[in-house]
């Protein structure tokens, strides 16, 4: 049975007359990396802040690690968050702040020091570990803020826009670090960068107006297992030949993008088998510039149906 690290049911949070969360229900499987995608003001940050206990919901239920809503006496040290618009104390050093957090989480002095060393190395901040936060650049501070989420390896990590403000090299390093945590921790990431979500996450939830409109694995949402997109030099003339190669498959030609979208069912035997059969038939008609399985998450998000889960 799959356990859930976070379960929220019909969560409501009002801000004045507006409902920032309007009955939001979302379950995050243990060990998953869940991406939250939605427009500004959709409720992603509010959901995270509510799960972390910073905001009190007006209605609904939260079950965090099977222990009810967040309570520092039960969940302290097991949950970490990178909150939006929250600075670490500016006079503190990354090392000092993270060490204190580790000690608060119940780590011994030696374990806290080791964990701080590892996490600062993971975000490439070792050489500035003893500089005051005030003297660090925005990106460095952001990396320190991300690092504090992984001190002591908490079970649940909530990251609100973790890659915002990072240069490409550091963003890539952080992506690889988050990928290395897959399966070890339950991580929820809120981001507007759908490429990042697609690369990092195992699951994704679309949030609109305080509700989840769709939640599934990234592979399902992008049709990575039942759709192949070919970028071609020109339109294939003989679609029938392609259909003969993969019986039951359907084809759609998008002339503007020169994309051929092949959609197939389980009986086709999966992406690799379809590719094996389809590529020779395609190459006989035109050159193939690129092959991708499924849609991009951005395409999936933009073409989403507003079905509320």
């Amino acid at each position: 049975m799959i356990g859930f690290a976070i379960v929220t049911r019909n969560l409501v949070k009002r801000r004045g007359r507006q409902r920032a969360l309007d009955g939001l229900s979302l379950s995050v499987p243990r060990g998953a990396v869940m991406g939250m995608v939605g427009a500004n003001g959709a409720g992603k940050t509010t959901w995270m802040m509510t799960v972390a206990g910073f905001l009190r919901p007006d209605a609904g239920e939260i079950d965090l690690l099977g222990n009810g809503p967040f309570d520092a006496t039960r969940h302290g040290g097991r949950v970490a968050i990178l909150p939006q618009d929250s600075e670490l104390p500016l006079e503190d050093t990354p090392e000092g702040a993270l060490y204190r957090f580790g000690r608060l989480q119940g780590l011994t002095a030696a374990a806290a020091r080791r964990s701080v060393r590892e996490t600062l190395a993971a975000v490439n901040l070792t050489d500035r570990a003893r500089s005051r936060m005030r003297t660090l650049s925005h990106g460095m501070r952001k990396r320190a803020m991300v690092a504090q989420c992984f001190v002591g390896r908490p079970e649940v990590v909530l990251l609100d826009e973790p890659l915002n403000g990072l240069d490409p090299v550091e963003a890539d390093r952080l992506r690889r670090f988050i990928l290395s945590q897959r399966g070890r921790q339950t991580i929820v990431i809120s981001s507007h960068n759908l490429e990042d979500i697609e690369r990092l996450c195992t699951h994704v939830a679309f949030i609109e107006k305080g509700r989840v409109t769709r939640m599934d694995s990234v592979a399902s949402i992008t049709h990575a297992t039942d759709r192949i997109v070919f970028t071609l030099v020109h339109e294939p003339g003989n679609i029938a030949a392609l259909s003969a190669a993969v019986p039951g498959a359907s084809f759609e030609w998008r002339a503007a993008e020169r994309l051929l979208v092949c959609t197939f069912g389980d009986e086709a035997g999966g992406v690799a088998a379809v590719n094996r059969r389809l590529l020779p038939a395609l190459l006989a008609q035109t050159d193939v510039l690129a092959v991708a399985s499924g849609l991009s998450l951005e395409e999936a998000f933009l073409s989403r149906s507003p079905t509320v889960v």
Partner: protein
């Protein structure tokens, strides 16, 4: 045990932050500066007054500040005059005979403690609320632990500042008074510093309690200063109303809800009133803090 550990860690963090940000230094300079100025000014002014008094009252002249005042205290007619003006008071019994420099220092440090406490500590919670730094703590400890840790950290800082300022005042006394007198003042000055610290604990609770109510450090300081004014004015106002209009005696008991109402017990040298007054002030401070923390525990951060 875990709760105490969290409180201690938060207090240590508060100390570390204060030292790194030089807030602790500012606190020390404020307290020490005030103590040095007070002690120096007191010795100078008292010396001049005593010289004039010695001439007018034809008392034996002395170059040592405090000798004339001590002679006056010992004079039975003068003692009767003072008692007829202020009434029979156990406080007067306890402090009569103490060196005037020591008493003026005590008066000054009690006068300054609330304002300095509010100015230095009054923004400590609201600053963290505004910057969002509090969120990093609240996933690791309870809100109450965090609030009490802040209080403890600030209380320890004020203790250090008061001890250092008392020592500074003693150094001035050593420089300005004969060594025998100055040496005899050292422990009493530290003693008054400790009493002022206990008095400050109540004001610290009030300042931090108010700081829990707002994200704006400026507003927290302003509210703190207003609270000092209101709470300082309450005891004399209660006395005034009671004596002039014969209002119910319950009014006079309201003064016990503010620090100034229990201040005089810290001027006593008998153990029972001193200890009960200290306990009263500590509980008062914690009550103010808890009132603010109760609001904080229910608010969104």
């Amino acid at each position: 045990m875990r709760t105490l550990w969290h409180i201690w860690q938060t207090a240590l963090g508060e100390w570390g932050g204060a030292i790194r940000s030089r807030r602790a230094l500012v606190l020390l300079v404020l307290y020490l500066g005030a103590a040095l100025l007070c002690m120096n000014g007191t010795i100078s002014v008292l010396g001049r007054m005593e010289k004039e008094l010695a001439v007018v009252l034809q008392l034996p002249d002395s170059d040592e500040t405090g000798v004339v005042s001590a002679s006056l205290w010992k004079s039975k007619p003068f003692n009767r005059i003072v008692r007829s003006v202020v009434g029979e008071s156990p406080v007067l019994d306890d402090i009569s005979g103490r060196h005037p420099v020591e008493l003026i220092y005590a008066w000054f440090v009690f006068l300054c403690a609330p304002l300095l406490t509010v100015l230095v500590a009054g923004t400590r919670v609201s600053e963290d609320l505004r910057s969002g730094a509090v969120r990093y703590m609240l996933v690791r400890e309870t809100r109450l632990e965090w609030s009490v840790g802040k209080y403890l950290g600030q209380a320890l800082m004020i203790a250090v500042a008061l001890v250092v300022s008392a020592m500074g005042a003693a150094v001035v006394a050593f420089c300005r008074l004969p060594s025998g007198t100055a040496a005899s003042l050292f422990l009493p000055l530290l003693n008054w510093g400790l009493r002022a610290w206990i008095y400050s604990l109540a004001w610290l609770g009030l300042a931090l309690g108010i700081s829990h109510l707002t994200r704006s450090p400026g507003r927290a300081t302003s509210l703190g200063i207003v609270a000092i004014g209101l709470f300082g004015a309450l005891p004399p106002l209660m006395d005034f109303l009671h004596s002039f209009h014969g209002w119910p005696g319950v009014l006079t008991h309201l003064r016990m809800l503010v620090p100034a109402g229990a201040e005089m017990s810290l001027w006593r040298f008998s153990a029972v009133p001193l200890l009960s007054g200290s306990f009263h002030l500590v509980i008062l401070g914690l009550t103010y803090l808890m009132a603010g923390a109760a609001f904080f525990c229910r608010r969104d951060v």
